[in-house]
């Protein structure tokens, strides 16, 4: 069965591209616009991986990671955070919150698939 991935980003452009790329690689993809939206998706759907942006309205990515790790069905699901900002600090924020790994934007479709395969083969 295809693995299901949740992509969380307030930018539709990014969601579209992530989703398109991953679907092409044989994953099933569900989308959410921000952390709040993501949590409500996770309430209803079991996913195998979460890819989330950091900067989002309503609930940012770091908070989302914390909430997911805080308990519930997805507490041990791998989470990748998307980051552009010079990496280290945001990566570290994400890590501290419990993210599994990160992808640095901009990324090529191949890179995305590669990183996803790394944590969710």
């Amino acid at each position: 069965m295809a693995k299901k991935i949740l992509t969380v980003d307030d930018s539709k452009t990014m969601r579209d591209m992530v989703s398109f790329t991953l679907k092409g690689a044989g994953f099933e993809v569900v989308e959410a616009e921000d952390g709040v939206d993501a949590l409500s998706v996770l309430d209803k759907t079991k996913v195998d991986l979460i890819i989330t942006d950091i900067n989002m309205p309503n609930m940012d990515g770091v908070t989302l990671v914390k909430r997911v790790r805080g308990g519930g069905a997805h507490r041990s699901v791998p989470i990748l955070v998307l980051t552009t900002e010079g990496g280290e600090q945001k990566k570290a924020d994400g890590r501290a919150a419990g993210a599994t790994g990160w992808i640095v934007k901009p990324f090529t479709p191949d890179k995305l698939v590669q990183v996803v395969n790394k944590v969710c083969p």
Binding site: M14, D16, N55, P57, E85, G86, Q89, K90, T108
Partner: protein, 738 residues
């Protein structure tokens, strides 16, 4: 690993999504920047600006718009320093942010249009951003390039296979980040020949085993053609959660293997993460300036009930191509027409149809009307998006002319058709510029006149019937009618001996080629006058009028239909023709006594009603309609109010009834016709013309109304023999509607 390839079509689609999104982001950016300027910004404003720039940058990166990426990167960097409180939010910074916002918009547009901008475009703003960062933030070289460089993949071109020993000792909490050693092992295996030794010595007795902790550690021996960095990359995500040592075993003939990175790589990242944690603390403290609780958590963005972001809270929305909506609007329009055709047919065979059919038709009509309203509502947007641009305009203009101005806006949530919104920006901009430049007095003068030194401009929107009313009110000097009149005479717009009422004098503001500014200023008076504003508004089917009290101020009122797709009309008959008059313009209709109608010496006729003389316009003359009632006292006069509050009387045979009509453009489907703003298809499938009151008013008849046969005919109509029977095969614009 397929999925890497994106076809041209898909790419175009992504690209479109990106620019659509940019549009929204830039609008949001603009709104938030104005909030900053007005100091009405909440802590969320800066975050929101940051996110907008950030999203643009991320998307631009995906599409390889290098210039956009570079610029937004600097912009973002400054915003980040601001958010962290490392730079103070000074006037200078705000100005730089606003300017950068402008540049960003241009860069986005250039990227969209695939235009090349001058190499130094925006360089000054970029410099300013850097300077601020260096001077205020103490950031060397504005930290711009570092990130991009950080991403350059380092590959030292090892060729032959080398052997590495990798000692991997996970910390207990490895699993808490949902990392999985098994996956790492699998990935290592893809790099080359792998020998695995597992160390079980850390495993505690079962009863003290924490099921979620990591106890095992491994030693791998790997023969691979890859570099140390490639191996380290496998452990990229776990390096904080483990002790990792990668040692090269053989000293094989490899050039330049400079023992990169200390074997104990675990140390450094830990520090980094501490630093990050403390800086996260700082970030949230800044973001939460209002409420001084220094919490270490990054707090979710505070819910903002009045800010622009409120659109995204709790409201689910989808993005739909405008074309699709328009198609929907059109189809529903056709549906309305078809339904009324059916209803008419049914009514004609009333006896046979029976009560039930009639009821069915009525219900259907109601439902379709509702459907139409729903569809129209899709296109409706709050005027806020236009209003939000105004504070900035006021700031700029007032600074330029050296006047202090306060802008009050109300009714931003009033909704109106998207097309109308787009068309509103220019007229409003112009009116507000005018109000500041010409309307308001300077501070000194205001003091002398006993007014507050700060001038006030009110921008208000509200619904009134099927219209939106937008008022721009200033508390300035008001219109000096004598000056205005003299000026108009000087410009040859009116004769020196013309006798004009106050309203007519005020109306001169809208005359083409009129500008009261003594000098053409940089602010207003760029050759675009209020006549253009009026034309814009008229094009929207709206009206603009002005009221003014000398010394107290001036108010411009725009009355614009909520939608451009339907019109509440009154159908009138002239001979065998049917015309639609906009209901909003109709004041009353009456049958005058013969004595009320008088001929003017210079030609034309007026009707007197309640002591007012109102010019008569004979539709049958204008449009050369045969068989119409020619004497007003045998037919009806419909009294219409024009945009400036003036009145005209239109002579028709009879009123047929009120009707909502779907507007079809004549210009698109045929040719522009004087006096006609559009056409509609009636229930019986025939076409009726919708009359344009402003144009009617300006058509001959003022001075030679009695001989209207001339240049203003619809050409085709005039080629008919006067009593030719209506021919259904004629094109719509001939108005042969039977």
């Amino acid at each position: 690993m397929s999925g890497g390839k994106i076809t041209g079509d898909e790419f175009a689609q992504f690209r479109k999504t990106f620019f659509d999104e940019c549009d929204e982001l830039l609008t949001n950016l603009d709104e938030r920047l104005s909030c900053l300027q007005e100091e009405t910004a909440d802590s969320e404003a800066l975050n929101s600006i940051f996110r907008a720039v950030h999203s643009i940058k991320a998307g631009a990166g995906a599409f390889n718009y290098a210039r956009l990426v570079a610029f937004s990167h600097k912009y973002e960097a400054l915003l980040d320093l601001l958010r962290e409180g490392r730079i103070e939010q000074s006037e200078r910074v705000i100005t730089a942010l606003v300017n950068a916002g402008d540049i960003l918009a241009v860069l986005v547009e250039a990227a969209q249009m695939e235009q090349d901008l001058a190499d130094d475009y925006g360089a000054d703003v970029l410099d300013e951003l850097e300077q601020i960062m260096e001077e205020d933030g103490g950031v060397e070289g504005a930290s711009a390039g570092d990130q991009d460089q950080a991403e350059v993949e380092v590959s030292n071109g090892d060729d032959g296979p080398s052997r590495f020993r990798i000692s991997f000792k996970p910390h207990a909490e490895l699993f808490r980040h949902a990392n999985e050693p098994l996956l790492l092992v699998r990935e290592l295996k893809t790099l080359g020949d792998l020998t695995i030794t597992c160390d079980l010595s850390g495993l505690p007795p079962l009863r003290s085993l924490e099921p979620e902790d990591a106890y095992l550690s491994w030693t791998f021996e790997l023969a691979t053609g890859k570099s140390r960095d490639d191996i380290a990359e496998v452990f990229e995500f776990v390096e904080d959660d483990c002790d990792l040592e990668i040692t090269r075993l053989d000293t094989a003939p490899v050039s330049g293997d400079q023992e990169k990175g200390s074997p104990n790589e675990a140390e450094a990242p830990v520090e980094a993460s501490d630093a990050a944690a403390s800086s996260a603390q700082k970030t949230s403290a800044v973001a939460e300036q209002a409420s001084p609780k220094p919490t270490a958590k990054v707090v979710p963005a505070p819910q903002n009930t009045k800010g622009p972001a409120s659109g995204t809270t709790g409201v689910t929305s989808i993005r739909v191509d405008l074309d699709r909506v328009d198609r929907l609007v059109n189809v529903v329009g056709e549906l309305v027409i078809t339904q009324s055709m059916l209803a008419q047919e049914a009514a004609e065979r009333n006896e046979a149809g029976g009560l039930q059919a009639a009821q069915g038709h009525e219900e259907m009509a109601t439902l379709i009307r509702e459907l139409q309203e729903c569809v129209m509502a899709i296109r409706m947007q709050p005027v806020k998006s236009v209003f939000a641009r105004m504070p900035r305009l006021v700031r700029e203009v007032s600074a330029k002319v050296g006047k202090q101005v306060r802008l009050l806006t109300t009714g931003e949530q009033t909704e109106v058709d998207k097309t109308v919104i787009e068309e509103l920006a220019d007229p409003l901009t112009h009116m507000i510029r005018n109000a500041i430049d010409h309307g308001l007095e300077d501070g000194e003068t205001r003091k002398e006149r006993g007014k507050a030194p700060v001038g006030t401009i009110k921008l208000a929107a509200k619904h009134a019937g099927g219209n939106i009313l937008i008022q721009v009110t200033d508390d300035g000097a008001g219109i000096d009618r004598r000056k205005l009149f003299d000026k108009a005479v000087e410009k040859g717009i009116v004769a020196a001996d013309a006798k004009l009422g106050d309203d007519e004098i005020d109306d001169l503001i809208f005359a083409p080629g009129f500008s009261t500014a003594k000098a053409v200023t940089d602010v207003s008076g760029r050759g675009v006058g209020m006549d253009v504003v009026r034309r814009n508004i008229n094009n929207l089917g709206g009206r603009i009028s002005v009221q003014s009290v000398l010394g107290k101020g001036t108010r411009f009122t725009l009355t614009i239909p909520l939608t451009l797709a339907v019109l509440d009309g009154m159908m009138v008959a002239v001979g065998r023709e049917k015309y639609i008059l906009p209901l909003t313009s109709i004041v009353e209709s009456f049958q005058p006594e013969r004595g009320q109608v008088r001929a003017l010496a210079g030609g034309g006729e007026v009707v007197s009603i309640r002591g007012e003389f109102i010019r008569l316009i004979y539709l049958h003359r204008l449009f050369n309609v045969p068989g119409a009632i020619t004497e007003p006292w045998n037919g009806l006069v419909v009294l219409l109010e024009t945009a400036n509050g003036g009145k005209i009387g239109v002579v028709v045979d009879e009123l047929i009834g009120q009707q909502q009509v779907v507007i079809k453009s004549l210009q698109e489907n045929f040719d522009p016709v004087p006096g006609v703003s559009g056409a509609t298809i009636l229930g019986n499938g025939k076409v009726a013309l919708i009359l344009d009151i402003e144009q009617l008013r300006n058509m001959p008849g003022r001075s030679d109304g009695s001989r209207p046969n001339g240049k203003h005919h619809i050409p085709e109509t005039s080629s008919h023999a006067p009593d030719a029977p209506p021919n259904d095969g004629q094109p719509a614009a001939m108005a042969q509607t039977g």
